[in-house]
């Protein structure tokens, strides 16, 4: 079997259409982002921090976004959350949430959605908590900003939310200040605030990067549990392929602001097709098996102004060919459903080499 035309240009394959074919319009994904581009203009030059990122996420599912620092993960998340509109960055592309076009939403409407429909948690919980305000008061304030609630019912809800995220002694914790909590407890508070309104989507930007292994395991387990209980979709941003492996249904690998490979997590990790993804997996020491010499990727990720033309990975890529300097690789579907790669090596369908 070779490539079909539809797979090559990224149309749904016939099998998939048959499944969705019951109701003629396929079920609408919860989050549908098309060609999201975030760019920065300075000194007459423009550089894309995030370039033509498209993603789709169903209700209750988890999408992992993996990339090294500076690859544009946080920028993409902030753009989806509509948090870049007033800044120096230009955002383009279409973002549909539950069918609504976020770009056309009025600011007040968007603000309301941000509290109740989509929520986000950040890498460093200390910087998102008010250091001079008790935990309980902060959650109550957040609750009252979105719903008309009496102080006492808001406090009750806050305690419930803390209990839900597994905080020991929720009532007692409400009286503490952020610096009196451990890093893991602070991240629990952030998660509690994010889920009080039971959002349909939670974007978690490196939620465990600042935490110890054993606490990371607790927080990931908690996110999984909440996602299941609330049927909440999760965008999990991380630089750790291992975290994605244990958590997400699908994964997108970002390099220099571009989605270089995406697909079902297992498929991408077991059968990586992009030289960068392969490089990442080869550079990571294994927890099991022999310790051969590591195969590092040469050089380091380029700064946004130094991104090479053509394929952004080309000056570090061991497989680069001449075309890589001039041609920007487009996504090509692999024979395995939903596995896409943006690399010129995959632009020629394998069937061309086959003699049937």
């Amino acid at each position: 079997m070779g490539y079909s035309y539809q797979q090559q240009i990224g149309l749904p394959s016939p099998q998939r259409r048959a499944v969705a074919g019951k109701d003629l319009a396929p079920a609408m994904p919860l989050l549908d982002v098309t060609d999201l581009t975030v760019s920065l203009t300075a000194g007459g030059r423009t550089a894309a921090i995030v370039e033509q990122l498209s993603l789709r996420l169903e209700r209750g599912k988890c999408l992992g976004i993996v990339g090294e620092s500076g690859s544009g993960k946080s920028t993409a998340a902030m753009a989806i959350m509509g948090l870049l509109t007033d800044g120096p960055l230009q955002v383009s592309g279409q973002i549909l949430f539950d069918g609504a076009n976020l770009a056309q939403m009025r600011p007040a409407e968007f603000r309301k959605l941000r509290g109740t429909g989509i929520a986000m948690i950040f890498q460093d919980p200390m910087s998102s908590l008010n250091p001079v305000m008790r935990i309980g008061d902060q959650i109550v304030e957040c609750l009252q900003a979105h719903r008309r609630l009496t102080k006492s019912s808001a406090r009750g809800k806050a305690a419930q939310a803390l209990a839900r995220v597994g905080m020991p002694d929720p009532e007692g914790m409400m009286h503490r200040y952020p610096h009196q909590l451990s890093g893991g407890q602070r991240q629990r508070v952030m998660i509690a605030m994010a889920i009080v309104f039971e959002p349909k989507l939670l974007i978690a930007d490196e939620p465990t990067t600042a935490l110890d292994l054993t606490i990371q395991a607790q927080i990931l387990q908690l996110l999984k549990k909440l996602s299941r209980e609330l049927n909440m979709a999760l965008v999990l941003i991380t630089h750790d392929l291992g975290v994605v492996a244990g958590m997400s249904d699908e994964v997108i690998v970002l390099y220099s602001g571009r989605d270089v490979e995406r697909g079902p997590t297992q498929e991408v990790l077991e059968n990586p097709q992009h030289p960068y993804t392969r490089g990442l997996l080869g550079a990571h020491p294994s927890m099991d098996g022999e310790c051969g010499r590591l195969a590092p990727i040469a050089g380091s990720p380029p700064a946004i102004w130094q991104r090479p033309s053509g394929c952004a990975f080309r000056d570090r890529c061991p497989a680069a060919i001449d075309d890589c300097a001039t041609v920007k690789p487009q996504h090509v579907a692999m024979p395995q459903q939903a596995h896409h790669v943006a690399c010129l090596l995959h632009a020629t369908p394998p069937q061309a080499k086959e003699t049937a």
């Binding site: 077991e270 927890m287 310790c291 570090r316």
Partner: protein, 347 residues
Amino acid sequence: MSQSSHPALEIRDLSVEFRASANRGLFEKPATFKALSGISLDIRQGEVMGLIGESGSGKTTLGKAIVGLTETSTGSICIKGQHVDPARAAGRRALARLVQMVFQDPYASLHPRKIIGQTLSEPFTIQGTASRADLRSRVRSLLQRVGLSPEHAARYPQHFSGGQRQRIAIARAIANEPPVIIADEPVSALDVSVQAQILNLLEDLRKEQNMAMLFISHDLSVVRHLCQRIAVMYLGRIVEIGAAKEMTAAPAHPYTTALLSAAPRVKARNRVQAAPIVLSGDVPSHAAIPSGCPFHTRCWLYEQKGCPARCRTEMPRLETLPGGRQAACFFPEEAATPARSPAAACV
């Protein structure tokens, strides 16, 4: 006894106390807490010893105590059989010849106003190990040893990426070829693709120079890759020491088992088959170390065994097990085999 029969680094019963920052009355004795208790550790020449443990467990404190940046309250440190005493001012320069430390943050550890050539000349001029005439060529060859080019000597730190800065920090540490290197999370701030370059460099240097290294990290896969042996720390104590491959295959302390289980794995077939062990709660503070075994408040094996009173009342010592492994647990042979079903919680 000849010098070479000594381990490169010998630590005996080392303790470090810090003053607790809690408020106290004017005339009260300042409260202290033990950041390190009774640490004993040997590292042989040409050996990399990994040191892992959660944040605050005392890894950096141990490293700093060895290089004389932190005062110790009890215990002794010998390097190549030579007793070192950083408290004596005269001993400082001599100590710098014996042991050097590489820090985690490659951005903070280099002087921003000094060109790299200047930074790398200092170890030679301070120790008087290179003549003025030789200095340039020594710096050049040092840069080449860590995979940089001699032209880099004229640049300032801000022109370098994180990985390159870490190479420079390593170059500075190995300039006078000290027998012992302390590397405190040297790759934690680096991207995965760059981290592997530095790990390979450290591996090469160890082989070339036959130095001993204490490699501090919280990444188990990195430690397992680079180190021959691993020491696991919990609340200022070493709870297990053993050969890297054996320990990661079958731990002898339930805390090690939990760390292994929490380590994210990329390949599905390598992920822990049963449910991972997720420890409950946080690491207790040093100011309130639990009675008996300090780990009993989070120990899954304690629960699995029906909460034996001994774990609450008696402190397990680091004992040597058959095969040379050391562990501080009353039930080391059961640490590698968590039961499938969760045990009842102990109150």
